[in-house]
């Protein structure tokens, strides 16, 4: 990698480093953004609708309106992320021009391209992308993603898929470190990922970019669960503002992401939070209703 590109990647992953141990919250207006910041969110994701509503209302889900994102950027001092559709590099160009701090090329929105993801090297703004397994994570990193998050199953409040995805990624990394050098070529082919990245992960025992978790996290216990399984920070979508008492729940999840190994704190913050989002049993979804199958 030439010096310039290497420097750009360090700046992009650098902001992800600053978000570690934190919670990134989905918000749909300035009021919610302020509640999130006040609760201790490390960043917010500006959205038109949270995933649970996208699921319910259907239709084409696109990049949020510019006015909405701008309103949220003006409301808080923490980083603001926004989503573009998979493969929609012009939505990404617009978000870069607007000056958001991170772009999520997200399966939660309706994909704009059936074959290609955005060439993320072409942007100065860092990208985060979802993944279900190591191969998918490395393909996104090859395209320039500076942060990986599990896809989970957004908008369900059911953590089971986020758990499956973080376990899969962490296990597949561990397995790579045990392979002989001459076995990595075939493994790279099986993972459908670039050999150089596969070799790097085999040597270092981690992804070259921070590894966060998202998709169905609804309680402080859910956040601590994915952190204990190896996630470095958490995204909470519908889980906060679809619950009975968003401010208290947001504060509790922030506490849980920091004190994720301390049951005493987890007990304390889990008490008296009001009803969590009602949720949707992810196992009841037909394959075509799952968002995680978007992207490849």
């Amino acid at each position: 990698m030439d010096n310039h590109k290497e420097g750009e990647l360090r700046l992009k992953t650098g902001l992800a480093e600053m978000l570690k141990g934190g919670v990134i919250m989905d918000v749909t207006d300035a009021g919610q953004a302020r509640i999130a910041e006040e609760a201790g969110a490390a960043a917010v994701m500006a959205l038109e609708r949270v995933p649970a509503d996208i699921r319910k209302e259907g239709g084409v889900a696109r990049m949020a309106s510019i006015r909405k994102i701008r309103e949220i950027m003006n409301a808080v001092s923490i980083p603001v992320m926004a989503k573009c559709r998979i493969g929609h590099f012009v939505e990404a160009q617009i978000l870069e021009e607007l000056g958001v701090d991170y772009i999520d090329e997200s399966e939660v929105l309706t994909p704009a391209d059936e074959q290609h993801h955005v060439d993320k090297h072409a942007f100065r703004i860092p990208f985060v992308c979802g993944a279900r397994n190591l191969g998918e994570a490395l393909r996104r990193i090859a395209e320039g993603a500076a942060m990986i998050r599990t896809k989970g199953e957004a908008g369900t409040g059911d953590v089971v898929h986020a758990v499956r995805h973080i376990r899969t990624i962490v296990r597949e990394i561990r397995e790579l470190t045990l392979l002989r050098d001459d076995e990595l070529f075939t493994r790279a082919k099986e993972l459908a990922a670039p050999y150089e990245l596969v070799r790097w992960v085999a040597r270092e025992g981690k992804l070259p970019v921070p590894n966060f978790s998202a998709g169905g996290i609804a309680t402080p216990a859910d956040a601590a669960l994915v952190m204990q399984l190896g996630a470095e920070a958490v995204f909470v979508g519908s889980g906060i503002f679809k619950s009975e008492d968003p401010a208290s729940r947001a504060r509790a999840i922030v506490q849980a992401a920091t004190h994720y190994r301390e049951p005493k704190v987890l007990l304390e913050v889990s008490e008296g939070l009001g009803e969590p989002m009602r949720g949707l049993d992810a196992a009841s979804l037909r394959p075509e209703e799952q968002l995680q199958g978007r992207g490849w």
Partner: protein, 221 residues
């Protein structure tokens, strides 16, 4: 031997642990170990004999002789610090013991911080202006000059960085970049608006270790 606490509420605290490990500092407890630790850079490492520990509450802070406040979101860290007796303990700690803040950590140590105005520890006589360069688009890697034993260049990673203004007479500027002070010292307090923990250059952490060792020797106190 000194125990260096690293405030581990949120942010890049593991990157600081990584830098200290390379300087020969060892983790104090099993819980302070990090995944895939780097090897010390040399056998005669300046931190040999020292230990580091992650600090998440006042009880852990009480075990440390010095404290690193990492990069991250200062507003997030404040939520934890303002809980219970942590703030009082921390304010007392940094008045008497060595402290080193990077980016958000520097903001927490300042006399005043904003916008919007937020609470700070007030042991570094500067006004910290948050996100002063702009948003992530304006983040950059630059080379600046480090003064001290001769002038040398150092790589500086600025991420949504603050700027320091209104420097009091007790504040010594150790590095400037683009006309702005980016590494400053006031007695036992050291602060950088950039992130030395995100580079391979260990000189700023080495300087902090020297401050820690100087402070723990009564003769030079």
């Amino acid at each position: 031997m000194a125990v260096i606490g690293i405030l581990a509420l949120q942010g890049d605290f593991e990157a600081h642990a990584r830098a200290l490990l390379r300087l020969g500092v060892r983790p104090r407890r099993p819980a302070d170990e990090i995944p895939r630790p780097p090897a010390p850079s040399s056998p005669a490492a300046p931190g040999a004999g020292d230990e580091y520990m992650f600090v998440r509450d006042a009880a852990e802070l009480a075990q440390a002789d010095a404290l690193i406040l990492p990069g991250g979101e200062s507003t997030t860290m404040l939520k934890f610090l303002e809980d219970g007796g942590f703030w009082t303990a921390l304010a007392e700690f940094v008045r008497h013991k060595p402290a080193f803040g990077t980016c958000a950590g520097a903001i927490l140590l300042a006399r005043e911080a904003g916008p919007p105005a937020q609470r700070s520890l007030g042991v570094l006589d500067v006004a910290a202006r948050r996100n002063a360069y702009g948003r992530q688009r304006e983040s950059s890697i630059r080379r600046g000059r480090l003064t001290g034993n001769g002038v040398c260049e150092i790589e500086m990673v600025f991420i949504r960085a603050p700027q320091l203004g209104g420097l009091g007479p007790g504040v010594e500027v150790l590095a400037r970049e683009g006309g702005h002070p980016v590494l400053v010292r006031q007695g036992k307090v050291l602060a950088a608006t950039f992130h030395p923990e995100l580079t391979d250059d260990l000189r700023v952490h080495e300087l902090f270790l020297a401050i820690v060792h100087g402070a723990s020797r009564p003769a030079s106190a």
